[in-house]
Amino acid sequence: MSYEKVWADNQKLNKNEISKLKKDGLTIFDDIPHYAKAGFESIPKDQYMYFKYAGLTVQKPQDKGLFMLRVKVPTGILSDEQAVTLAKIGHDYGRDVLDITTRQSIQFHWVPLEKLTEIFDRLKKVDLTTSEAEGDAPRNVVGNPLAGIDPNELFDTRPVVEEIYRFFQDNPDFSNLPRKYKISVNANIFNAGQAEINDLAFTPATKVIDGQKRLGFNVKVGGGLAAKPYLADALNVFVVPDQVIKVAEAVTTIYRDFGYRKSRARARLKYLVADWGISKFEEKVLELTGPLPAAGHDEISGWNGGFFFGAHPQKQKGLNYIGISVPVGRIHSDDFLRIAELARTYGNGELRTVSSQNLIIPNIPDQVLDELLTDNIFKKFPIHPAHFTGYAMACTGDEFCNKALTNTKDRMEEIAARLDREVDLDVPVRIYMVGCTNSCGQRQIADIGIQGLKLRAENNQLVDAYELFVGGTLIGGGHFNERLKGRIRASVISDVLKEFLIYFKNEKEKGETFFEFKNRLGTEKLQVVLDAILENFDN
């Protein structure tokens, strides 16, 4: 370790911070083999927080010795052997289930304590890790899942992602941050890296320097969703690819040394940026990096929501990628393995995870593309999914999460399937469901967000219910969706949504998206529509 913990003596620290000063989070990897031998009961509860640094969360119910385990997949790119390893881990230790997360990671559930070291060994052999997939450290670096093959990218970001990942991964200089820390690196012009909801984001930009047009990045800092969402602010700097690491190190150092450690509720970078203001933050960054050119021309020209369905030509002539729908990101290990086998047989073995919880098989030659698409797996995981199932997302929900109040994944799938059967639209509608006020399902940027709660029923029992939010986007710097009044019981949520979307269908203009429709009509009008619908139901 080559830095001084400047916060150690000069501010009141929360309990986690005091623990982290005594023992670094990464040391949990030394402890896990001992706990595995001694049994789950041997783990003091005050040590649970350290498991996060190994990408582990004690799974609900908390006394069964089972874990959720998260594996990092930088910018979503998996090699053949990595994909196969993940499928086999799901089969051998995770009850055959893999979840693709909104940060392009892979999660397993029901993982027993005593199997963790075996799993770590398997992952290490294929250069994958769970380390810092959770905890107060740099999380998975997200980015363009089409990096290197994308006709719509300014340049290939794989080397930049690799450099950032290797620099921060298990780096003891940055393993004790105030809170989680999320980096996005993307040069896709449709904002595939979802810059505005990350702590630090590099976005595609160009600038003429010394008479030469240079390709690089603009930079945004301080974004994040959670219960108090905040869209990232732009620094007035332009960064060429080989300077990215210098800027990332500077921003992360500032966060490490000046980020708040008194209250965990105020520890994310967004609070520091908000308090300092973007100008002061920028001055501090430039103190560490030295002078940088002013921001370049922003090359972002819209937002694709992270959806890449269908078969499309790559920038390499004669090669194609296919975007596959994985409803709410949950996939059986056998199916994941089958898709990995197809990637090996027809492509180069690579498989890519997408922030919309879906998959991409890249590098399919023209001559075998049609043959690949005849495989039965695409009946289950289509490349042209229906407009609701294909564009639905959900957090983990109360099945595993201790914070969630309601089921999410199963219910979202049911709702989307019904809407696909009964509402025929000319545009997709992105519906994201979450089970609490947090943002693991990115509810705030959905066309229609559904947030779970519990409603008191006539018999005085609490029943699952939901609230609707409309009009979220990351277009134009982003806008969080807005809550409509009215709590909707789980028993009628799909009926209500169906009626709401039939109204959209009947009143929309041809090709008009839900976001455009909401902006044209206004939230107040949609409230009137929902009120009228709810009157017709026993809600």
């Binding site: 929360n14 309990k15 219960a227 969402p229 201790n402 914070k403 109040l405 609490c436 006020t437 705030q444 709660l453 519990k454 409603l455 008191r456 005085n460 029992q461 609490l462 219910a465 939010f469 969080f480 969706n481 807005e482 809550r483 709590r487 939230t523």
Partner: protein, 72 residues
């Protein structure tokens, strides 16, 4: 023990109610008790919803009570 954040909707508006209890059901009873105890004239309640819960650690737990913003 957990801390539960409820919103009680009445004809006059929304009442935030925080309850500490072992379960959601027990928390709901706390909500009823607090409404009955604290309001001389009982409001006409439209609905009661639980919107958030968190564990109470040794250092405590709490919620900031403020009107919800449109995106919350």
């Amino acid at each position: 023990m957990k801390l539960f954040r409820f919103i009680v909707s009445t004809e006059e508006g929304e009442l935030p109610v925080i309850a500490a209890a072992e379960s959601e059901e027990a928390a709901l009873q706390v909500v009823d008790q607090e409404i009955q105890h604290n309001l001389l004239i009982q409001p006409k309640i439209r609905d009661v919803v639980l919107i958030e819960k968190k564990g109470i650690k040794k250092s405590g737990a709490g919620y900031l009570i403020q009107p919800r913003k449109s995106y919350e």
